[in-house]
Symmetry: C2
Subunit: 311 residues, 2 copies
């Protein structure tokens, strides 16, 4: 059942979090379906970086200056763990660790990731509904010249310097969408594919059986926001991954990935000259400022996307 | 095989840690067998308070002013956990949490508590060998008028205000001494029962099958230090537990518990008048200052105990 007032965002980390925040500021009845293929267990703790980035951003706790993690973070526990001989290549702040400790304890006690996420977001005052794409384990494996790497090994430890030769989402075929995900994709008034890394953040969500089909056949108005502006990504390896996997490093290259899945491609003013080529793919084009500088920029972009739904 | 140069201390928390520290300062080849019946799992983390107190004290990291935990401790993670809805009645500092996270991860990966303890103490530069009394789970349950309480619930949450009507060491009968424990008890030149709570710290160690017998038949010189001075405990509920379980709240009451297990009872100068009654139990008596004020006090007491072995 479609509820016109409902907005669903498919999101990875920072770009999705900013857009979700804009949607909240714009007053949307918001559900965010979040990539969990970057999740990792370190020091025995269940870490869900994208869920946490969206959670912290919506709770107003994110470190906007640094672009990740929590504001005012300290590192006493990590320093003590290093002293105890742990390999601490993955930075974990003291406050952030609380999230992982609590999540791990509740998962081990039998709760699902969906349930734990609802508890955490509720405790932090997040109004939006955050859904992991699945409660099952899915892990992005990055093929490189040095062999396969776990996602965080590729992304954090090796600072996404390796050329990505291929991607595998281990466990995806056996995974089920988390409760509420398919309804959120097919039943929203507006569905937004966030300006997240297409291959590393959005494709894993679509790899969970049923999600791609729900998006393809959704009666929602569907908009994707390009994470590529002027041939570059604002953040992270989106540009290099597109290139190494043989795609145009441009909003047009991104648009080609989303043909059949969205109705509207939102691109930055810097890419205005790509609009005709994107329209030739059968997509409508919304040209605007997509950089989302500050809360106003986030809300303004969200309102422009909301306007496409009622257009 | 008895090695005269080897010293083994049976210990609970603070009193045992101070005496162990004194033994290190006095140059002893030291093994500490530590009570683990106070261990507790909280927030999914394996917490071993007595092992940690001894470890931190021997590593020079303990907060001697407060009397427990680590010096310079902060509480960012616990505060964030409270915000996430966790019940944080058990205070866990950021540095202390690192110990619990590391221990839990290594236990879940298949290491024994003995192995994990060796790793942690080694990382922190502790020279002495710390042995948990057992690698199995043993849990002190405190019978009270309000029913049975877990040890930390009794000790921390209810601040040991309940009258102790009885004690059960759940799992003790099925437990095995950790590797090295029996040899440390029977093979040392000097064995010291620390001035720890007799019923809450020492009795659980002796409840592990084989340990009491190893102590009773040890050819080591065996000394117990009374935790009761002038009818009071320096710290904790030792006095009230002795009273509620029907024992004299005095060094004599403690000595009666250790008859057949030790050769020498070390009592404070304040209790000098109890010496004849303790000697009447068949024990030698060492009268000295047992308060262990500062590092000098710890080392002085340790040297006096060492002297009884060569006496």
């Amino acid at each position: 059942m479609v509820n016109d007032a409902r907005v669903t965002v498919l999101a990875g980390g920072v770009g999705g979090a900013k857009l979700a925040h804009g949607m909240e500021l714009a007053g949307a009845d918001l559900t965010v379906v979040v990539n969990t293929a970057d999740d990792v267990e370190l020091h025995g703790l269940a870490i869900s970086p994208d869920l946490d980035t969206v959670t912290y951003t919506l709770a107003g706790l994110a470190d906007d200056v640094r672009g990740w993690g929590l504001a005012g973070e300290t590192y006493a526990t990590l320093e003590a763990m290093r002293r105890l001989g742990e390999d601490t290549w993955f930075t974990l702040g003291d406050k952030d660790l609380a999230t992982h400790v609590v999540r791990t304890a509740r998962l081990r006690a039998g709760a699902t990731l969906t349930e734990v996420t609802a508890q955490i977001t509720g405790s932090l005052g997040v109004r939006a509904r955050l859904l992991p794409m699945t409660d099952d384990l899915v892990a992005t494996v990055v093929e490189t010249a040095d062999g396969p790497l776990g996602f965080q090994e590729y992304f954090v430890a090796r600072q996404h310097r390796d050329e990505v030769l291929g991607l595998t989402f281990v466990g995806a075929e056996q995974a089920s969408p988390a409760p509420g995900v398919l309804d959120a994709v097919s039943g929203a008034g507006l569905l937004v594919v966030a300006p997240s890394n297409p291959f590393l953040s959005i494709v894993p969500v679509l790899a969970v059986p049923g999600v791609r089909e729900a998006l393809a056949y959704s009666t929602a108005r569907r908009v994707a926001v390009s994470p590529i502006i002027g041939g570059r990504a604002l953040k992270g390896p989106a540009a290099s991954v597109l290139a190494s996997l043989g795609h145009d490093v441009s909003a047009l290259g991104v648009a080609r990935l989303y043909v059949g899945l969205v109705d509207v491609m939102c691109i930055d003013e810097a890419d205005r000259d790509l609009a005709p080529a994107i329209e030739a793919l059968g997509l409508e084009v919304l040209v605007t400022d997509t950089v989302m500088g500050g809360a106003e920029g986030r809300e303004r972009l969200a309102r422009e996307l909301l306007a496409t739904a009622s257009a």
